[in-house]
């Protein structure tokens, strides 16, 4: 394909699916990423297809798209019409799809009660509020996710219509490799996998190696539990990653790349493999791209469920078909990486920003964000928050804006306690620091880290000791065992935390925990071990009273740690219905009909069955 052919195909592609540009009158998209399908998008899509076929309207296009970002409101259907803002229907099912088909698609009547504005309660009576004006969306800025939930990810032409592969054409025909690297440096883009290393600088290290075999690697082994940005990009816009890797190859002098994807993401793998196949067939990958003499080939490798493989040297060892154990650095991957050759490795979100930077220029990108963190960051918002989903915000947005405005606050009238970022390597941000503008340096300064983008919100019902124990349990399980501080140290920390949650610890154990944490951080071989103690240290720092309550007073203030709890019946609230007594598996509840019951704490196994059964809220744990 030549650049002229690319441009011609872009124009033709626009006519093929954008309403008003060609013969398409309406375009209907159904969110068909993992969460959409799990929430029931399949019957919605089938109903829409069937009904539109029955209406005989051949100018209505019905398509699948990637993640629209509002997991809470899936299944989502959006309708695009010429010259209008799209209409977003949420929490759809087959019945609602039928109504939308008959009213909106057949007759142009928007079904207001199913739209996002009605669902969030933001729309004033009868108004159809566009998604872009909702609190969830208003403060977002989409760069990495720009095509997610917009185009059909399996359709190369739709990516081309959104200026896809234009950045590659521009770089190959009008820029020297050094110009590409300079643009990346000037943009200020930093590694979105969590480390925050400047991307342009990273590329320049590999580029400086003598010519010869070099590799580009994309880290799509998104292991942080609670993060799904990379999955969404690969599912929703796989060509952006393909194009970025080719750009990286051109800049660094490499002709071959590998994408290492978690096997747990079957749809992402499928879309990525199709994207590579289509790009090769169109001449956008392979030999002599755009007739410039530059060649680039791409392969997909599947991970097999090992968290440590998110660490760059371990990932490369895994691509080589071995146990994914990290290698000591130096030598750094830029000098001796995959198969012993110079290698550039970036994560999915980092790559997803690259084509936009090349196309729009470094200044455009650097105009967004804070002084030392440019651009946007995607967060997977989850936990105790009303609007769970995928959000992309300019660097410098505060946590309060994300949680209270975009996220809609904490459900059930509960109180915010902490936000966790950085997963098993990160820390907790307590309420006192919620106004901190988010960027790499600020988050590190307050004892957390950017991480790959998981942002889990916790409320007053979550015990911070239990959360620290949860993350440590994860690292103990995922420690690869190669180096001693991580393999044995995390295990010993875990034992101390077990003692704390069981009420068997003394105050000196807290001291021991901190000493051990310092040793592990200092002496572990790779990032997994070096950061494993962070969740413990961060919670100890932000919630010292909670640790003390467990250790000194043998109480769990949040009411989570079972060993420290007892169940009680409030006599005034108990109606004597006997329901709790009948549900107790160990016969620990005593009482007669219409008289207050009591729990024998010596027999109670603290299963909570009585509390779940009680209809009067008469049972409490403390």
């Amino acid at each position: 394909m030549t650049v002229q052919e690319l441009n011609a195909r872009r124009e033709a592609a626009k006519k093929s699916f954008i309403p008003g540009e060609g013969s398409v009158a309406l375009r209907v998209v159904v969110g068909y990423a993992t969460c959409g399908i799990a929430a029931g998008a399949r019957p919605v899509l089938e109903t829409l297809r069937k009904e539109v076929a029955a209406l005989g309207k051949t100018d209505i296009l019905i398509e699948e798209t990637g993640c629209i970002g509002m997991c809470q409101y899936e299944p989502i259907v959006e309708v695009y019409a010429p010259g209008q803002e799209k209409v977003t229907y949420v929490k759809m099912d087959a019945q609602k799809a039928l109504t939308v088909a008959h009213k909106h698609l057949a007759n142009g009547q928007v079904v207001q009660e199913y739209t996002i504005g009605a669902a969030t309660g933001e729309a004033r009576d009868g108004e159809v509020l566009p998604l872009s004006k909702t609190a969830f969306y208003r403060k977002q800025k989409r760069v990495a996710l720009r095509n997610c939930g917009v185009i059909d990810p399996e359709n190369l032409d739709q990516y081309l219509a959104m200026d896809g592969y234009q950045a590659l054409a521009k770089a190959l025909t009008a820029m020297q490799p050094a110009d590409v690297i300079q643009t990346m440096k000037d943009s200020g883009l930093r590694g979105r996998g969590g480390g925050g290393f400047p991307t342009g600088t990273k590329w320049s290290f590999t580029a400086a190696q003598p010519p010869g075999k070099k590799y580009v690697v994309c880290n799509a082994d998104e292991g942080d539990p609670g993060a799904f940005m990379d999955r969404s990009v690969l599912e929703g816009d796989p060509h952006a990653v393909v194009e970025a890797m080719a750009l990286c190859g051109y800049a660094t002098g490499s002709d071959e790349g590998y994408v290492y994807v978690r096997a747990e993401y079957p749809i992402a793998v499928l879309h990525l493999e199709k994207a590579i196949k289509d790009a090769k067939a169109a001449g956008l990958l392979g030999e002599d791209i755009f007739g410039t003499g530059f060649s680039f080939d791409l392969h997909v490798r599947l991970g097999a469920g090992a968290f440590v493989c998110g660490e760059e040297t371990a990932l490369m060892t895994s691509i080589e078909g071995k146990r994914g154990e990290p290698r000591p650095r130096p030598p750094y991957p830029a000098i001796k990486g995959l198969f012993g050759k110079p290698t550039t490795e970036n994560n999915v979100e980092t790559f997803a920003n690259v084509p936009q930077i090349i196309l729009n220029g470094a200044e455009w990108f650097a105009s967004v964000g804070t002084e030392r963190s440019k651009g946007t960051k995607v967060f997977a918002l989850g936990g105790k928050i009303k609007n769970t989903g995928l959000v992309e915000i300019p660097m410098g947005t505060t946590l309060r804006e994300i949680i209270e405005e975009i996220g809609g606050g904490i459900p059930n009238g509960k109180k915010f306690k902490a936000a966790q970022t950085g997963g098993p390597s990160g820390g907790c941000i307590p309420e006192s620091l919620i106004d901190t503008p988010i960027d790499y340096d600020n988050l590190t300064a307050i004892g957390s880290m950017m991480g790959s983008g998981g942002l889990i919100v916790m409320d007053e019902d979550n015990c911070m000791v239990d959360i620290a124990r949860f993350f440590l349990d994860f690292t103990v399980d995922e420690s690869c065992g190669k180096c001693t501080p991580c393999r044995i140290g995390t295990k010993r920390m875990m034992e101390i935390l077990d003692k704390i949650t069981e009420g068997k610890a003394e105050e000196k154990d807290l001291q021991k925990l901190q000493e051990l944490a310092a040793h592990i951080k200092e002496n572990s071989l790779c990032g997994l071990g070096q950061t494993a103690p962070n969740p413990v240290l961060a919670t100890m720092k932000a919630f010292p009273d909670e640790y003390l309550a467990h250790v000194k007073y043998k109480k769990c203030p949040a009411g989570v740690c079972k060993a420290l709890l007892n169940y009680f019946i409030i006599a005034e609230k108990c109606k004597g219905c006997t329901l709790c007594k009948r549900n107790c598996p160990v016969g620990a509840i005593d009482g007669t009909v219409k008289n207050p019951h009591t729990i024998d704490t010596s027999k109670c196994i603290k299963c909570g069955a009585c509390m779940a059964a009680c209809k009067f809220g008469a049972i409490i744990k403390k």
Binding site: T34, C35, I37, A38, A39, M70, C71, Q72, E74, E222, G223, D224, P225, G226, A227, F228, R231, A263, E264, Y265, R301, L302, G303, A304, G305, A306, F307, S318, I319, E320, G321, K322, R323, G324, F339, A380, G382, G383, K384, T388, G389, Q420, G423, G454, I456, M458, N462, I467, F470, F471, F474, D477, E478, C480, G608, A612
Partner: protein
Amino acid sequence: MVKKISKIPFSGTPEQEAQLNAVIASYKDDPSQLMTVMQKAQSIYGYLPFEVQVMIADGMDIPLEKVYGVSTFYAQFALSPAGKHPISVCLGTACYVKGAQAVFEHLQELLGIGPGECTPDGVFSLEACRCIGACGLAPVMMIGDEVYGNLKPDMLAGILEKYKKMEGIA
């Protein structure tokens, strides 16, 4: 990570062996494809019994010790067969803070098996997994390829019932 190694006798069929040999033949010149071959082998047999690992080692000309090292390193490789309806409960962070542990414990009670085990009739097996990326629906579990979200412990018996009916054991 501790792996449970199967004591169930190997019962591979000649058809399965032919499929595996075809896979090995297409990758045997590239030792870096060992994991790919093992992944394909697991989808042929449902798990990676010792006998299959021996076939892979011989076919790929890679020492058995390396193959065994890889199979025990990665969580995805199973050394014992899964149930007909494998259940995996997500214990990722988003699910955990929304009560996945209670779901996981209640399933163990209902099924009478622990994590990594299979019911004696071979219908269900249970394991915990780390994030399937459907955090918006937390807590979630998968039974086979089907995802169940927004779970509460009291919903579980009803969900299992569906599969029991399917198997005619309800």
